[in-house]
């Protein structure tokens, strides 16, 4: 609770904190795109242009990702997905967003569920791309992974974060003594701080939000890829069954990022759900 109020109370600019970008029509219904683990708002680049003519498009980086304010991150504050949901709500308040369409990829699908649960009246619709409320198998529930798999993932992140991977901006990012290194990495997407990414991986893949799903009555569209190892179809089906007002569209796209691998199909699947403006 204390952690929740600090940024709000202390007037820190939540828009700068989350590197919020607002595009499209200022007077139109807002559509908020939130990226998943491992990436930043760049992952929506093939999708958002389609919505700019008829929506107020809002993009952001979760705190700890992309160009968010890393000084706003603390392991204590962001130890659950709720803190990110609270950030989303603060951004909505700061921009006075009402009647919001929330589009969340992967872990941000659950962040959207938590935000809509906290403030149901603020959200008109949810689009959940590759959602999973729980990644770890649990009795009858199939999440797709064991706890050991997740521990191994955290280990492999360490190897990738040691600095040999250009996918990861290594620890040198933001090193004031070596500005040339930051410069060199300026153009790479999805930069991340290794410690934060490892922490976020833990928070993401050990989260369990199954109990939240039935409590969200917001009309919801689930976009399910046909071969998604992270959020397999059985998980998408579980989400659909558990949410009172959800429908599911099975995409031909494979993998976990249809917004990148099949943007046209993703857009086409969203339009009928969004209604006449779409």
């Amino acid at each position: 609770m204390k952690a929740r109020v600090d940024s709000l109370q202390w007037g820190m600019d939540v828009l700068a904190r989350n590197n919020v970008k607002v595009l499209g029509r200022a007077d139109a219904q807002p559509i908020l795109f939130v990226h998943g683990f491992g990436c930043d708002q760049n992952m929506w680049r093939f999708v958002t242009p389609a919505f700019e003519p008829s929506y107020r498009v809002v993009l952001l980086d979760l705190v700890g990702a992309g160009k968010s304010d890393l000084s706003a991150w603390s392991s204590a504050k962001y130890q659950t997905l709720h803190a990110h949901a609270t950030d989303i709500l603060e951004i909505c308040r700061a921009l006075t967003l009402e009647d919001v369409i929330f589009v969340g990829h992967s872990v941000s699908a659950m962040i959207g569920v938590l935000a809509a649960r906290a403030e149901p009246d603020r959200f008109a619709k949810l689009v959940l791309v590759g959602p999973s409320p729980c990644y770890i198998d649990d009795a009858e529930y199939v999440g797709g992974f064991s706890r050991k798999d997740i521990e191994e993932l955290l280990e492999s992140l360490d190897s990738n974060y040691l600095g040999w991977s250009s996918a990861m901006a290594p620890v040198i990012m933001g090193n004031p003594q070596r500005p040339e290194l930051s410069e060199e990495l300026e153009n790479s997407f999805c930069r991340t701080d290794p410690n934060i990414a490892r922490h976020f991986a833990r928070v993401t893949f050990l989260s369990d939000n199954r109990a939240d799903l039935p409590l969200v009555r917001t009309p919801t569209l689930i976009l399910q890829c046909s071969e998604d190892v992270i959020a397999p179809p059985v998980v998408g089906e579980y989400v659909r069954r558990s949410m009172p007002a959800a429908r599911l569209v099975m995409l031909n796209a494979t993998g976990h990022c249809p917004n990148l691998s099949a943007p046209e199909e993703t857009i086409a699947a969203m339009r009928p759900f969004l209604g006449p403006n779409g």
Binding site: G11, G38, H82, E119, S165, A167, S261
Partner: protein, 389 residues
């Protein structure tokens, strides 16, 4: 050989090697997949390393099928999206599951080939055997973890010892306070005053160590409530007045701008920062003035920017040390032996200010004095009841 030299230059003998030979037997694995990951071609080196036969994987398996579950997550969340956005990825660390179920540590480079219309067509992948390197990495990671753990354990130990010291110390302070209220001879009074100064300085030191430990552990949080700004500033000022008088230093206070009656914040922590800065200023000033200035500037109907500054006419700080004074234990050995203290005060103050979303800054000139300044953006109303979650 000699004859050739005599005969003049001639073409060196180049063994015949086709591009196919190079592809198949290069000292790295080559693989091509469709954009969805289905393997459509791989070279002999890759098959040799992993034990697969061509017909087991080509046209049958996706690249991610050859990875353990953890690798698949990394593949889907990092490799695949980056490849689609950047057109290439470099040095992704993965493990390929071989036919004998052993795992081959690899580094992957990949590029995305697009057709004339710009549609992704093919992914070209080079696979480097990183067995030795991964062992080295694991060793590095183990060492790093061990070092981090040792530091944490030390910090915990220091915190525990400080806690243990604080309890008897509090008792000493309490007993001394009781002693003060009894009839004392001048000699006893002098001894009690010595006891007071030593016990208070030791208590301050122990509290600093504990505060710093809380920061290190990320356990420090703000406790927000409405408070009277003027009263807080005056209280901080009054706490230091006796010390200033004792040293013969003028202590001044100004508060300017549109001063709100109440603001929302962690008054105790702001008080701690102000008294720490004032205490430092008094410590390092032999003559002249220590000044606490507060300026308020409304930043909207609901918030105010408050700039606090503490300036002195003391010894100042050399320019080459200015960058490091907010780091823990940054206090120089010479300063410590002459003035005392743990060297944690500024690190703690800086941390407390940061917790409020501000930044503690310093301007200083050696021999002329220093000014410490920070600005806090505070709300006028308590909104903590709003917003749920």
């Amino acid at each position: 050989m000699a004859e050739r030299l005599v005969d003049g230059p001639s073409e060196p003998e180049v063994p015949v090697e086709t591009a196919e030979d190079l592809y198949e037997n290069a000292p790295c694995g080559y693989m091509s997949t469709l954009p969805g990951g289905l393997i459509v071609r791989a070279n002999r080196t890759f098959f040799l390393w992993t034990g697969y036969q061509s017909d087991q994987v080509v046209g049958r398996r996706r690249f991610s099928d050859l990875l353990p579950p953890s690798g698949r997550i990394y593949y889907e969340t990092h490799y695949a999206p980056l490849l689609l956005m950047q057109g290439s990825v470099r040095e992704i660390a993965l493990e390929v599951i071989c036919t004998d179920q052993s795992r081959l540590p690899v580094l992957i480079n990949a590029t995305l080939a697009r057709d004339a219309q710009g549609q992704p067509q093919l992914i070209r992948i080079t696979v480097f055997n990183a067995t030795a390197r991964r062992k080295y990495e694991q060793e590095l990671l183990r060492e790093r973890r061990r070092a981090e753990q040792a530091t944490q354990e030390k910090a915990r130990f220091i915190a525990m010892v400080s806690h243990e010291i604080r309890s008897p110390l509090s008792a000493i302070v309490a007993v001394r306070q009781m002693l003060e209220k009894t009839d004392l001879s001048p000699r006893q009074d002098q001894l009690v005053r010595m006891l007071k100064s030593s016990s208070e300085s030791l208590l301050g030191l122990v509290n600093n160590v504990l505060d710093f430990g809380r920061f290190e552990g990320g356990h420090e949080v703000l406790e927000l409530h409405r408070f009277d700004l003027q009263a807080l500033v005056s209280a901080s000022f009054e706490t230091m007045r006796a010390r200033a008088e004792l040293k013969g230093i003028a202590l001044e206070q100004t508060i300017t701008g549109e001063v709100p009656q109440c603001v929302v914040g962690d008054a105790l922590k702001i008080h701690q920062v102000l008294t720490n800065l004032l205490s430092n200023a008094l410590k390092f000033t032999e003559r002249g003035v220590v000044r606490l200035s507060v300026h308020c500037e409304p930043t909207g109907a609901e918030s105010v920017a408050i700039t606090f500054s503490v300036s002195d006419t003391g010894i100042g700080i050399a320019s080459d040390r200015l960058n490091s004074i907010f780091e823990e234990y940054a206090q120089g050995a010479e300063v410590r032996s002459r003035y005392g203290g743990t060297g944690l005060g500024l690190a703690i103050s800086s941390g407390l200010v940061k917790l409020h979303g501000g930044e503690l800054c310093v301007q200083s000139e050696l021999g002329r004095g220093s000014t410490f300044r920070f600005t806090l953006h505070l709300k006028l109303q308590d909104l903590s009841a709003e917003g749920g979650s």
